[in-house]
Symmetry: C2
Subunit: 467 residues, 2 copies
């Protein structure tokens, strides 16, 4: 892949001086200091060398930075913790990176109204910890929860394992403070649970990947903290069996808090990474189910275990205590490091299909992996129909990378043909930008560009991403 991100202008010394004046010289990085800010955690996505990185500590500083950069016509790339998987935070050469990583204040946690207001750079896990301090709960749990920022989660509408029960990040966002493309500060949304005054600009900003504004403060809704969770891991001899068990759980009135899947290639990679792991290396498919229902988690999980057995599970492990549950779930967390260790690099897919099409999607992925001679390891959120096929390749082998890119496109085509979407929760970034039109069609793509132009007429905010 080549660098397709071109900044419309380059920062001058005068601009850098003005930025240093706003944020302080210690919060303006240039030259080699910008190295860590060049890319997110995606493999193979294009990125460049930013002219500078600013680390503002307040909304007002972000606004002043954007106003100055806009006056100079410089492209601005917002960053949280750069844990994204689609290149959405990658700068192009000469861009100005605005990092929210020093905006880490928890501004309010309101137990009576069940909201928390935090700066964008607060780690998502710290939002939940603050909620826990008053007996409340912030449910969205992207895999990056311990290292990603709430601002980044909102900008990508991040998902996670608990979405199957609780919904995605956007379902919890009440109010945003956002710096617009011209440096004005807007506060959108409502503190209340309901509110229809004005157009829903909050939802428009959620998932906009920094293309419409820089999110600097977030108010999220909180829920009562659930009881401790129980879980079950079940290994199945076939994809058909695992899907049948998952359907029986998902198509009932049960409310699992986690309903995850790992395929045979995923199991093999984890086993290679950790030979002591308790699963047999030849398990064809794994289902991970949790319940955190108040007073029912143990009973629920025993039912889930029984359902797994009825559908032919060859191994069923139940965990009712935190430590045992961690052991069951560790497999899911180890997957990406294990795949990279075994294969070199991965292209992350994030397709979602209506649940009735999961079987067709999995069969189709298997067929095209065979056809193209690539290894695809698939895990993901079976309850949501949102899978993460990881296309594994050796990054030093151009032919292998080309085959991986072909497989990436083919999986996206397959998901769209099945009525699905090319991104359930990771976002578009630069990785999937060229495929958006195939899913959305010309009219919707045109509408989005109309909205983008209305809010950022000069195209300075995260150019080349998402749209």
């Amino acid at each position: 892949m080549t660098n397709i991100l071109d900044a419309p202008a380059r920062p001058t010394t005068a601009l850098l001086d003005a930025l240093a004046e706003i944020v302080g010289p210690g919060e303006l990085l240039t030259g080699p200091d910008t190295e860590p800010f060049r890319r997110d955690r995606s493999d193979g996505t294009p990125s460049g060398s930013p002219a500078a990185v600013v680390l503002p500590t307040s909304t007002e500083q972000v606004a002043a930075v954007v106003a100055v950069a806009a006056a100079h016509g410089i492209a601005i790339v917002p960053q949280g913790a750069r844990t994204g998987l689609a290149g959405g935070a990658n700068p192009g050469d000469g861009d100005l990176v605005v990092s929210t990583s020093r905006m880490t204040r928890i501004l309010a946690v309101d137990a009576a109204d069940r909201t928390a207001t935090v700066e964008a750079g607060v780690l998502t896990i710290d939002v939940d910890r603050a909620a826990a301090g008053v007996g409340l709960f912030y449910p969205p749990d992207p895999a990056s929860v311990a290292i990603s920022t709430i601002g980044g989660n909102v900008a990508t509408n991040a998902g996670g394992m608990r979405c199957v029960k609780y919904g995605v990040t956007g379902d919890f966002v009440r109010r945003l403070t956002v710096v617009l493309a011209d440096g004005r500060i807007a506060r959108t949304g409502h503190l209340t649970t309901k509110g229809v005054t004005g157009l829903d600009l909050t939802s428009l900003l959620v998932g906009s990947e920094g293309t419409l504004g820089i999110i600097t403060e977030v108010t999220v809704a909180l829920l009562p903290r659930p009881g401790s969770a129980s879980g079950v891991l079940a290994a199945f001899p076939s994809t058909t069996a695992v899907l049948a068990a998952a359907d029986e759980i998902a198509l009932s009135s049960r409310r699992p808090s986690v309903l995850e899947y790992l395929d045979a290639a995923s199991v093999a990679a984890i086993k290679a990474h950790d030979p002591a792991w308790f699963l047999p290396a030849d398990a064809e498919a794994v289902l991970l189910v949790q319940s955190d229902e108040q007073g029912r988690a143990v009973v629920d999980v025993e039912e889930y275990a029984a359902i797994a057995e009825q559908h032919g599970a060859t191994l069923v492990e139940v965990a009712h205590y935190a430590e045992a549950l961690d052991r069951l779930m560790s497999a899911r967390r180890l997957l990406h490091p294990a795949l990279r260790e075994l294969h070199g690099a991965i292209l992350n897919e994030d397709v979602a299909v209506p649940r009735s099409q999961l079987s067709a999607l999995l069969r189709g992925i298997e067929a095209l992996a065979d056809e193209l001679g690539v290894t695809v390891a698939t895990g993901g959120h079976l309850g949501d129909g949102n899978l993460h096929p990881s296309i594994c390749y050796d990054p030093s082998d151009p032919a292998a990378e080309a085959a991986a890119v072909r497989a990436h496109g083919r999986i996206i085509e397959l998901a769209v043909a099945l009525g699905g979407t090319l991104s359930g929760e990771h976002g578009i970034g630069v990785l999937k930008r060229d495929h958006v039109g195939a899913e959305l069609g010309d009219v919707v793509v045109g509408l989005q560009q109309q909205v983008k132009r209305a809010l950022d007429p000069r195209g300075l905010l995260n150019p080349g991403k998402k749209l």
Copy 2:
């Protein structure tokens, strides 16, 4: 109030002929036949005499109608069933009304993927009936559920009593087909539970009150159908007592499906309407609570009844069967007819505040009603902090109407000062348009106008509403 809606142009005979050609002569109404289409169910909102009403039967017809009207520069006012309470569907003189009331096909109900796709003119209750046919459930239940259309519900992001547990209309909208201001057809959103490809135009359209496009088809998410509900009605000697009981329920991990409130003036009006109603006319406050939790509804409601008694309820009626439950809930449904019967007309408020501010809101409303000499009867959704103070007045008395309008503005100011919003679920329409700026501020109002101009540059869609 005077008519402030001015259409930018008037339909010509050539335009009417072209419209008749598109929809058929029987589906084009002019002259006295347009009378029923002049206003929604709000009292006192400005409205005019439309030049014509078209009743298209397909998305393609709507698109053709809009294209022709736009070519003539005619203002277009979309209508569902005109059950709104803010004048959002009121045409101005010479406008073209596009009614979706003949678009009543249920296109698909998918049990495996838990979605229903319907035309915009389907009654909301029929969406739920279709869902019930496959054991599923469409939860949003605005008071108008039996007479309002799903398209209108989406256009206003309608709420209802069950929102406290299930969320509002927008929480269930997956995908929209919408006719844009220039007659193009766009399909936004995803069939999947998660999806972040593109900007969230679906959420932007939800609640946009016909100002950005005409919604013609809706795909909603469905849930497993809950068991039958149980409920309790409790009468309290004071507002303090009713709020304390409601707090104890709302600030727990319980999940009531209804948590409603009626004040003394509401009780008095219902009692005047139906002297045989079982409540004493001097009850100061009433709480209505339901549970539909699978296998727990009876136990839950017995707990709610005990909580009411602990907080000094003077009358507690529990209902575990549909007929008895209907009898309890009938009071809530009778409220608006009873108020109109007793007082003549009402201005509908729809303010919402963070729940911790409910006491301040209720005390403030009482004080300003005394000050202005108006009768305000307040009921609403205590679980959401969303109240409906009805400002009662005699429409034949200009001084009374003026006082009602003053009280309306003052209640809005109060709610905004308490961190709330001027509309939780009814929408802005023309009734509350002049107050929007006080809540949202200049920057957000400007942003909304930028979005509106991007999607409807000539301002032809529902002019003078919402923004």
